[in-house]
Amino acid sequence: MFPNLKNPVFTDADDLNEIARQLRRDVINMLLLSKSGHSGGPLGLADIFAALYFNKLSLLPEDPLNNERDFVFLSIGHVAPIWYATLSRRGFFPTEELKTLRKVNGRLQGHPAPLKTHGLPGVEIASGALGQGLSIAVGAALGLRLSGKPNHVYCICGDGELGEGQIWEAAMTADHHKTDNLTVIIDRNHCQIDNRTEKVLKLEPLADKWSAFGFEVFEMDGHNMKEILETLDKVKKVKGKPTAIIAHTKMGRGVSFMEDDYKWHGVPPNDEQGKIALSELAPTKYGDFVDYYGGK
């Protein structure tokens, strides 16, 4: 369907924005079918996932464990729907399978399941219990460097997740070992399940924290495709230290009544809300994997 490995599928921001919109529609449709799952985070990350998988990453969907692949670790496993939608649209598995989110005997578990047990192409290790992804990413970065490989490692973390102490242990390890083949992308949407992040546990000054932990820190508007692409280029030029991107995003981006509202962290839309959401996210040339409302 698309060209492979190191060739970007799209270089034009408009094309990437269109696929991002389709990913958002996919997320809504998946959640309507599963009637369970997280809406806010997946919608907020759609632009970054589109930029990574349709422009930046070295990957081969038909050979997901290819030696030249870049590694992606989703430390916030609960945003799995956006990952599944992206992998599917990128050709890792048929979009038909998106109908099986959270269903028994399925590969699209509520939180990403390991390759060895569930065999979903593109997902290599489990996530869900928060705070674990960055350590895994550091380990992969060390392993790749030891083998003399140029592959880059990306770890996607939430902002609320940064309350987990293991994240900062891993940050120290990344700094100590100067893993410049590692980039952590922090989904800074200011929302977590209980409330705004600063009300649950103060995070600011966040950039200073990562900087003090030895990272070269970049900030970007996580919904501005040009800025995302530019920042993802910049991190790969940094030598001798790991990089952190603070991606300023809005939870629920693209659906007006979900935007920037922490209450949408962990719930799916109901039928009425889903209809409004899909009306706000204009259809794309790719088409939906399901006609949930049957044309009604």
Binding site: F71, F73, A113, P114, K116, T117, E124, I125, A126, S127, G128, A129, G131, Q132, G133, L134, S135, I136, A137, V138, G139, A140, A141, L142, G143, L144, L146, S147, K149, G165, Q166, E169, A170, M172, T173, H176, H177
Partner: protein
Amino acid sequence: MNLIKKFENYLVENLDLAKPELKETRRGFGDALVALGKSNPDVVVLGGDVSGSVRTDMFRDAFPDRFFSVGIAEQDMMGTAAGLALTGKIPFASTYGEFATGRPFDQIRQSIAYSEMNVKICASHCGFTVGPDGATHQSLEDVGIMRILPHMNVITPCDYNQTYRAIIECSKVDAPFYIRFYRDNSPNYTNPDAPFKFGKADTLYDGTDCTIIASGLMVWESMMALEPLAKDGISVRLINMHTIKPLDKEAVLKAAKDTGCIVTCEDHQKIGGLGGAVAEVLAQEYPTPVEFIGASDTFGESGKATELYEKYGISSHFIAEAVKRAISRKK
């Protein structure tokens, strides 16, 4: 009549029960790592600040580019190990038993066991034998914690030689492992040439009246009980259950059928460990009287290892008494 029937192949030749060679099991781990370092370039080691204590310092000095220090951060160590495994490395992550299991349980559960990562978690300083350090450092729950995890394999070698062989063997199996060993010098008595058969118990002595199933340092402790029992006319089979998971069910059931009763012995809580594993098999498949030697739902305290073995009821004379109790319960 000689009631003690030894199987020669498992034990060193001319073993002097009164004066065995003493050697650290942790040293067996460290020596095996160096051997693996030479033979397999994919073997890497993670250090959690206690590399001198757990004997990974020898690997660190021999292969500095394959040794990754992560500091005092066991949760991060387990995740980093999982990441290394994803790139084809064979990581050995080592620290003291409590900090290798209790502290990073969630990381082991999700990133190693559930994800089936080829990570070897190697725990030194287990059981009561860290004595003077006291309860916080006496890992008495680790086998239970690891045994309940699906996909996890649990090994508890009994001496230096077996620890060495177990480490070499587990490096050949692409699966998560937990390997438990100890700090102090302890008798080194197994035959270094005997193959370590993962998942297959070693029957060291044969007998007819009762079977002792022991693990780790308690195998030697159990051997010390054989002669006093023989003097009382009791013939005992002794099994070294070095693999707690997957458990050698066949050996357990055969012992139950042949000798009619079982005593389990471990330097660990009775709950959840070897005793629990053996009882689970017997309760389902061949109900048999079982007596348990181990910590009785209690934490330890400071003291010499020998004093603690006495106070907490796991030294050889307690084992002998348990054998008699087990025999008396036979119908």
